[in-house]
Amino acid sequence: METKLLSQFVGDPQQHSIERAIEHGAYQAWQKVLKEIAPADLIQIVKDSGLRGRGGAGFPTGMKWGFVPKETLKPKYLCCNADESEPGTCKDRVLLEGDPHAVVEGMMIASYAIDCHTAFFYIRGEYDVGQVRMSKAIDDAYAKGFLGKNILGSGYDLDIVVHRGGGAYICGEETALLSSLEGDKGLARLKPPFPAVEGLYNCPTIINNVETLANLPHIVMKGAQWFAGLGTEKSKGTRIFSVSGHVKNPGNYELELGYSLRDLVYGLAGGILDDKPLKAIIPGGSSTPLLLPDKIDTKLDFESVAAAGSMLGSGAVIVIHEETCIVWVAEILAHFYMHESCGKCTPCRQGTGWMYEILRRIEAGHGKMEDIDTLLDIADNIEGNTICPLGDAAAVPVISTVKLFRDEYVYHIEHGKCKVRSQFRLRVK
């Protein structure tokens, strides 16, 4: 069973219009905040709710906001991270296209909490519909007086600027996002300084994921206690999981955290395509380690997935059935990280390409036995040694596939071909 909190109205084709959204309760939280809640209290409410970031790292949202210096004379900025580019992930898009006002309202609330008067909505350049709908939603919110100067007589000013990316996964990484927003190449930056202290234009900046922000109206309206009642002890609320790959009913499913992976894959998603045996599941987007079928009863919350040896990440559940060559999977992902490395730091710039080239060679039937250990060692030399987590992310699929499917690598190298065939034909109809 889905728990439709954020996605309650996304099925309504008119939900993106402000009238319909207001009918469904949009901007009530915003009005309540402006009227009744002081910024410091708002931060406390979000802390109490236990909300954790939905962008990947799962950092407690209220705590992050608390890092913004109070005494500074510098302006503070909020950036909504809608760069969604992690392979397997398309859950933010559901909200941007299906309920943009919820995202706008979330941005308003977060801005207010950190005393920001100019917020940026950074959306990956390819998301055309999302960009159009969000821009329209923001324009309409201005027209209704929910944005602009002295909003609803509260004395609080807020502008939201929509910024389209130019096609670069790295710009989802928060510091690269800031570089990109400043008009530069999307190069990641060293931390510290952390963005909350020195971010956009060297000013305090909070970066939050779309889905994280979309939770805020609900928390404001129904209270921290209510929200904390959803999910597990440490993973509160719901998440939208993008289930893709070899399932009968791929799609985005909003679940209370702690939902069983089995129920998601075999229940909601209808089970494995053509009823083939399951080979592996990537539970949190391409940057998270694979889980073998024996972990199918893992609960989908931050702690349980971590205990199973992976990460909840971006909530993208990629299902892989038995007839898939794992070397080929690793090659595809390695290509991705090579293509997306910003190139600033050595291990990622050089290592991602090297891993890809070795994997391509093995896949093409020219592997050597020592390649396997070389791959592991390259991944080890990248992991933990880069500026931003893209390097770590690139190491993950390699390490994880070698560790879990070493025999398949060996077979591939010995026989010069796949152990299992992966001829995924395009369906005719």
């Binding site: 398309c90 008009g183 190449k185 395009l426």
Partner: protein
Amino acid sequence: MILSDSAKLQISQTATRYPKVRSAILPALHVAYEEHGYLSDQMYEEIAQVLGVKFIEVAEAASFYTMFPKAKRGKYLIQVCRNISCALLGSHHLTTYLLDKLNVGLGEITADGLFTVVEAECLGSCTTAPMMQVNAHYYENLTVEKVDRLIEEFRSQK
């Protein structure tokens, strides 16, 4: 002058939304790309002038992102997602199918000037794989039939 006056106006208006004009480089590149379908040094120069930023800042930024190519493309730029969710459902065959059907190599322009096929990384449409992006639009849950129909439509629209 390559960029139209209205494009330039749009660029300078966008710039006013940002605390620092340099931030308007990406929006400006989008405007130029939408007007011409590719970018050029001359366009970089004009953008730099309109915004009052440095030529090199525009040139460096443009070179980093995938959406501001300098090469001209066909009228329909078909980007086939090659990443994992799509690949698991046959996107590689989608690419070869398209290339064969249109009789063109990856990244080239078809003889009629209509199509260019390229591969792209994940476009955020993984639950509706396989998919392709044609210009700004996403086409999802693709099948051979669907692709055939789409190509016909594009051809008839010219």
